[in-house]
């Protein structure tokens, strides 16, 4: 499944209009790519032609790619997807996985669908180093309130605008940080900046192995600012068929937060090849 000739790629992307190739995309972070690879291998096991188009970028970019038919399928997070699609962000009071899924289905763009969501969840978190936690006695997001004006927070640039970012923190928790440093969405920049003390609070995903590696402290979210973030395949309806949905639903059924964290650590910490890790996951769960 190699896209050696980039110009033929355009034609390949037209797959959504009838041919049997499914182009799978991913966001530009390791977990998304791993999930994409798992989807890809699961489909290949069912003799579905697959084309990989990983590492596309932020959600805003890859959703566009999905809508214009550049890609057919993506691993998504139900909460984040909902806030991206719903006008004015996710409705208030919606936070459980099922509530989120219900709301999400209402706002999906025409021509796209979600399949069954998995139990595996990868949430946005506010995370601090253990030193910071000790120093300010931090356990939950609420504890940040008295000290936030002394702290710098780092997250993806999109946090400036999102409800599930700075806006929600201010309106729901009444927290306003001293400065915001635009970095990456739970990626290496944020982790690194946190380690080096260039930021005090970072937005890191809950499955990220760096939390364990660096002994970070994840702050609880008692007011449920962050939605459920169950992993869910988002697909163009033209690419969907029983074979495809069957294979993907089987994957979703086996995915849990725990096994995802474990396998992701193989990629992030042990630097194993993504394809190999995906293959191991599928084999061990009897999916291939």
């Amino acid at each position: 499944g190699a896209n050696d000739d980039p110009l033929s790629n355009d034609a390949g992307a037209g797959s959504s209009t009838g041919t049997s190739t499914v182009t799978i995309g991913s966001a530009n972070f390791a977990e998304s790519e791993l999930l994409g690879e798992i989807y890809a291998q699961a489909l290949e096991a069912k003799q579905v032609q697959v084309k990989r188009q990983f590492n596309i970028g932020a959600r805003e970019l890859y959703l566009k790619a999905l809508q214009d038919g550049s890609i057919d399928l993506l691993p998504e997070y139900n909460g984040a997807l909902l806030s991206a699609l719903a006008k004015g962000g996710a409705p208030e009071g919606v936070s459980s996985p099922d509530q989120v899924l219900t709301e999400l289905k209402k706002v999906l763009p025409a021509g796209t669908a979600v399949l069954e969501q998995s139990a595996a969840e990868d949430k946005d978190t506010l995370t601090v180093t253990s030193e910071t936690a000790t120093k300010y006695n931090l356990k939950t997001i609420e504890d940040l309130k008295p000290v936030a004006d002394k702290l710098t927070i780092g997250a993806g640039p999109e946090w400036q605008e999102r409800y599930q970012g700075l806006k929600g923190l201010e309106s729901l928790y009444g927290i306003k940080f001293k400065t915001f440093k635009p970095l990456d969405a739970g990626g290496p920049l944020t982790v690194n900046a946190l380690v080096k003390g260039q930021i005090d609070v970072g937005n890191i995903f809950s499955t990220d192995s760096s939390i364990a590696t660096n002994k970070f402290v994840v702050l609880d979210d008692p007011k449920n600012l962050y939605l459920a973030e169950n992993i869910i395949p988002l697909i163009r309806t033209t690419a969907n068929n029983p074979t495809v949905s069957g294979a993907l639903n089987a994957v979703s059924a086996k995915l849990t937060t725990e096994n995802l964290t474990t396998y992701l650590a193989k990629v992030q910490v042990d630097k194993q090849d993504t394809a190999a890790v995906a293959k191991a996951f599928l084999t061990e769960n009897g999916l291939v």
Binding site: G57, E60, L61, K64, G156, P157, P182, D184, L189, A193
Partner: protein, 220 residues
């Protein structure tokens, strides 16, 4: 084309964090730093090679090799090695400006009329005087054109600083992209291009000022 971001007065207040003027200033800061560091490194080397004629093979090929280093890769490598901050960005940008400055300094020295240099020596100028009073002023036009193209490139490329959490006009591109705000991306692209043109204009004026009319043909 949606120009609303660019023309929104709120984005132009100097006191707001992340306003366009602030981003321009930080952008210029990176550009100027990179140009200064690059010049300090490349100019003496280029002048030396041009002056002595030794290592000209190196000069020509180092120029092209330097250009072939992908700035993005270098930046990511440096961040991975050194962590966040100004240093990795400056290294990546400096590597970008070195080749044009080096090759033009070399070419400027090589293409100047050797007979004039000969005359200067024959008049009893010492090597340093020959370099500073004769070769350098005569090589200036070529050197300036190299410097200007370095400046153009680094203005455009300094946008990558935003990709690793720094400021500069790249913020408009990266943030705009992240929040799906094309008007902001467009504003970024336009401001960068205008900045480049203005900078080039200033350098062109500077060139007119420091290059002798005897060389430029702009006689008073």
């Amino acid at each position: 084309m949606n120009l609303s971001y660019l023309f929104d007065a709120a984005h132009w207040s100097l006191s707001t964090d992340g306003s366009i003027p602030q981003l321009i200033l930080s952008h210029l800061w990176y550009v100027v730093l990179a140009l200064i560091i690059g010049t300090v490194i490349a100019l003496p080397v280029g002048l030396y090679i041009g002056h002595t004629g030794r290592g000209s093979f190196l000069a020509i090929n180092a120029g092209n090799a330097g250009r072939s280093l992908p700035t993005l890769g270098l930046l990511m490598l440096m961040v991975t090695l050194l962590g966040l901050g100004l240093t990795p960005v400056l290294i990546a940008l400096t590597v970008l400006v070195i080749p044009p400055i080096l090759t033009s300094a070399y070419a400027g020295m090589r293409t100047l009329d050797r007979r004039v240099v000969d005359a200067a020596r024959g008049m009893g100028m010492r090597p340093s005087q020959v370099l500073l009073r004769v070769e350098l002023p005569m090589a200036l036009p070529v050197m300036m054109s190299g410097f200007r193209s370095a400046a153009l490139q680094v203005v455009a490329t300094a946008t990558v600083a935003a990709a690793v959490g720094l400021n500069g006009l790249g913020r408009l591109l990266i943030d705009g992209l992240a929040v799906n705000d094309y008007s902001r991306v467009l504003a970024g692209a336009i401001v960068v291009a205008v900045l480049a043109v203005v900078l080039d204009l200033i350098l062109a004026l500077a060139q007119r000022w420091i290059v002798s009319p005897g060389l430029s043909g702009r006689f008073r």
